[in-house]
């Protein structure tokens, strides 16, 4: 048995096997994460709102998400009459590409990584911008004014918040002297970067809330204004793909924040991968907490906040860091 596997590995090459196994692992993590997070969000929301949350299906309602997925899978895929069909169909599928690609470079542990690309962070930033493209074509193709407004909002928001996001990561890249996520995690063996760069961490976290369209920056899907924003016309499994992507994005931004600022997989006693997940889900919990506590900001406030506060501050932070490192 073992020999056979080794033979196969020798024939197709180690890298290929690693990538395939890794991708399967990524799929499992993505789905498991989404299912866990829907349950967690409902539980957290429930307890914040003095309710219990799901409790009927399975122990503590743990199987609720499975029941929901089955329900969503069984639903008819409704296509409204006047939609731009190619765009309408493409959007929910396209939203998954960046999600999967960004997972490839995230180091879950010292060696638990699908592929260590030496420009890892650039890959993440480049592909995460694709999310907004699929939101745009989804909103555009839906032939619904609410969807269109949601999509346009999403584009403006993403352009505004991608800049501080990048600017807040640059000081870390200076300090670690590398674009590779593993190197950055390794560089925090002694002290976490959040100690040197608290401002950058805050800016990154705020910007990532906006990137994932979560309250208080959930304007593209603001339900009290735009019904459901860009996914108003989507139902059934197509809707749940948008949903899945949102939860995965939450995981990704938290994972990047952990890798860049909170020491990545570093931690005493427990294995690295456990530390990684603990830290990531702690941040995800904060995101959930935000959603059930804050009202939504207004659109002009959102843009002003980015252009007038976050971007100047992150530039300043970058300059100071650069200056100190040079000295």
């Amino acid at each position: 048995m073992c020999d056979t596997i080794i033979n196969i590995v020798n024939i197709v090459g180690k890298e290929v096997v690693r990538t395939v196994v890794g991708l399967i692992g990524v799929f499992i993590v993505v789905l498991g994460n989404a299912i866990m997070l829907t349950w967690t969000e409902r539980k957290v929301a429930g307890h914040i709102q003095r309710r219990i949350g799901p409790k009927e299906v399975g122990p503590f309602g743990l199987l609720q998400s499975f029941a929901d997925s089955v329900k969503l899978l069984g639903k008819e895929l409704l296509t409204p009459a006047n939609v731009e069909k190619p765009l309408y169909y493409l959007a929910p599928t396209l939203i998954f590409v960046p999600v999967l690609v960004t997972f490839v470079v995230i180091p879950f542990d010292g060696f638990l990584q699908v592929k260590d690309i030496n420009t890892g962070i650039l890959v993440i930033l480049a592909f995460s911008s694709l999310t907004v493209l699929s939101i745009l074509i989804g909103g555009w193709g839906s032939d619904n004014k609410y969807s269109l407004i949601g999509a346009v909002r999403s584009v403006a928001q993403n352009i505004a918040y991608e800049i501080p996001l990048l600017l807040s990561l640059l000081p870390i890249i200076f300090m670690a002297n590398s674009f590779s996520l593993r190197d950055i995690a390794e560089a925090q063996r002694g002290v976490w970067f959040v100690v040197y760069q608290p401002i950058a961490f805050l800016i990154f976290f705020v910007a990532s809330v906006a990137e994932t369209n979560r309250t208080p920056f959930d304007l593209p899907e603001a339900e009290s204004e735009l019904v459901a924003g860009f996914h108003t016309e989507y139902s059934g499994m197509r809707f749940s793909l948008f949903f899945l992507a949102e939860y995965t994005n939450m995981f990704i931004v938290s994972a990047i924040a952990v890798t860049f600022f909170l020491g990545g997989y570093q931690g005493p006693v427990l294995p690295g991968v456990v530390w990684f997940f603990i830290k990531t889900y702690a941040l995800v919990f904060v995101l959930l907490w935000f959603r059930w506590t804050f009202p939504r900001v207004r659109f002009d406030q959102l843009l002003n906040f980015s252009w007038k506060i976050l971007i100047p501050v992150s530039f300043l932070n970058l300059l100071v860091t650069g200056g100190i490192l040079k000295i």
């Binding site: 603001a222 009290s224 939504r296």
Partner: protein
């Protein structure tokens, strides 16, 4: 009363040929009656406008030989209700419009036009307000009158007239933040609103016509269906009007219990709004918190009235049932204690939130001067700094003997409307506490009320302060056991009328915050 005398003195020299009569206020609910004619109506309106009278209500009564337009006026500073009537020929009813003086009349006149077939000369947009345009007759006329063929109205529903750089959005009838089935047609320029036009009638059930076909007793449950969150207050408005009309005395105990239960209902209604308003701003959690508190009130009221939402508790001459001294008072006291703690918590959770403050401060500013034109009332007018509250202006039930303050705002923005309502919850708690302290013993209803009420000929206007403002009911009796005509003056109607004015040129998010701050109830507007 002093004002009424002054008005008569000033009125007589200016209009020598017009009849002005003083009316016994206790019996009919208004002070003066003026009989206008088509020729001098506008002058009379102008006379009242100069003296800062606001229009309470405008409606029509079909007396078969003639149609009578009834204009009700009063002032915000002092109670002086004036009924101006205008007789019209039922064959060719035409009246001048007053909508250029009182903006709210634009809607009232449209309503009269669709229900009675009255034409208003000079009205900017005389289309149907509530009804479907294919209805074919005028429903509130006593005889069947068909809509003339040449007058089949254009669809009042919207004919989009798309221009460059703007587009239309239908906000509602099914939309998460229109609180029921209100439809607002928004003309938008990107995220900004160019104009907003409410389209009413999706919940129109014609309660006013129903009243004409039911005995006074049978109509009792109907008012609760108009304003479901504040059902008891509408119930009270109706019951008191009929009591005044028939001269039925109410025992003191019943008056106090009415006051206490009404204030409980007011808190419940404000809590419903407290849940919905932050939800309009994207904060979903206060909703559950407010409902948690509201549940306590519903339990208390269920114990007394037997229902949880659409109460029908008051009867002519008293109540349906006496309260249970022990359980009711205990539960209410416990609730007051709990609610006071919770108000502190709400203050921490909502009022201090930076995002919340930035979203509603200085947004949707209503000026005090506009109250006259639009006739808005309740927390909306109090937020502009005007302490106008029917409970103080025209005390009913036991409000006259209980001392309470009227919370007011400063500039009339969304924040003020929020703060006024929050303070009103506090004031209501004080009123309940005071009421329980003074609750007299004795009978809870008058025994002498006949089963079949046949009030004497005449009319009555009675107003109460419901949770959303001045709620009035006008009844014309013809000595039969059914009302000849019943008219409801509902506060959300005139409150909503200001929305097109406030929504011009603002962001859609602000418009929705403003709409939420009004606390409109659509079934009440549509009736």
């Amino acid at each position: 009363m002093a004002l009424a005398t002054k008005i008569i003195e000033e009125f007589k020299p200016e209009f020598k040929s017009v009849d002005i009569a003083e009316v016994p206020y206790e019996k009919q609910g208004y002070h003066l009656a003026i009989e206008a004619r088509t020729g001098n109506l506008l002058n009379i309106i102008d006379f009242l406008d100069r003296r800062d009278f606001y229009i309470i209500d405008l409606f029509c009564v079909d007396y078969q030989e003639y149609l009578e337009l009834v204009y009700f006026f009063s002032t915000h500073r002092e109670l002086c209700r004036i009924k101006v009537t205008l007789k019209l020929d039922p064959e060719k009813p035409v009246a001048p419009t007053i909508s250029n003086v009182y903006t709210i009349a634009r809607w009232y006149e449209r309503e009269i036009h669709e229900f009675f077939g009255v034409y208003f000369e000079g009205h900017p947009n005389l289309t149907y307000l509530f009804l479907h345009e294919e209805i074919g007759h005028y429903p509130l006329r006593k005889k069947h009158v068909a809509v003339p063929d040449h007058d089949k109205k254009l669809l009042n529903s919207f004919k989009p007239h798309e221009e460059e750089n703007s587009f239309f959005i239908n906000l509602g009838p099914q939309h998460p933040s229109t609180h029921g089935v209100l439809r607002v047609v928004l003309k938008m320029d990107g995220e900004y609103l160019v104009s907003a036009e409410p389209v009413l009638g999706y919940l129109h059930r014609m309660h006013e016509k129903m009243a004409e076909n039911r005995s006074y007793m049978q109509f009792l449950p109907n008012p609760a269906r108009m304003d479901y969150p504040g059902a008891l207050l509408f119930n009270l408005a109706y019951v008191e009007a009929v009591e005044k009309l028939c001269g039925i005395e109410v025992p003191e105990r019943a008056k106090y219990i009415r006051t206490i239960t009404c204030e409980l209902n007011r808190i419940a209604s404000h809590l419903l709004w407290l849940g919905a308003f932050p939800a309009d701003l994207g904060a979903l959690t206060p909703f559950m918190y407010a409902f948690d508190d509201r549940e306590n009130i519903l339990d208390i009221l269920e114990d007394v009235t037997g229902s949880r939402l659409t109460y029908c508790y008051f009867r002519f001459g008293g109540l349906y049932n006496d309260i249970n001294e022990e359980t009711f008072i205990d539960a209410t006291k416990r609730f007051i204690e709990r609610m006071r703690e919770r108000l502190v918590m709400y203050d921490k959770l909502i009022t201090g939130n930076v995002i919340f403050i930035n979203r509603i401060k200085n947004i949707g500013i209503l000026e005090q001067g506009q109250a006259k034109k639009y006739g808005f009332s309740g927390p909306v007018i109090r937020s502009t700094g005007m302490p106008f509250d029917m409970r103080k202006v025209d005390p009913y039930a036991a409000y006259g003997s209980i001392d309470f303050e009227i919370p007011t705002g400063h500039i009339g923005d969304n924040m003020d409307r929020y703060l006024v309502r929050m303070k009103e919850i506090e004031v209501s708690l004080n009123i309940i506490e005071e009421g329980i302290k003074r609750l007299p013993s004795g009978p809870f209803k008058t025994e002498k009320v006949p089963k079949k009420l046949k009030p004497p000929k005449g009319d009555i206007y009675n107003a109460v302060e419901s949770t959303r403002g001045e709620t009035g009911v006008y009844i014309v009796s013809d000595e039969s056991d059914t009302p000849y005509r019943m008219r409801w003056r509902v506060p959300s109607y005139s409150n909503l009328m200001t929305f097109p004015h406030l929504a011009r040129g603002v962001l859609i998010a602000d418009a929705i915050a403003t709409l939420g701050s009004y606390d409109i109830v659509v079934p009440e507007i549509d009736r």
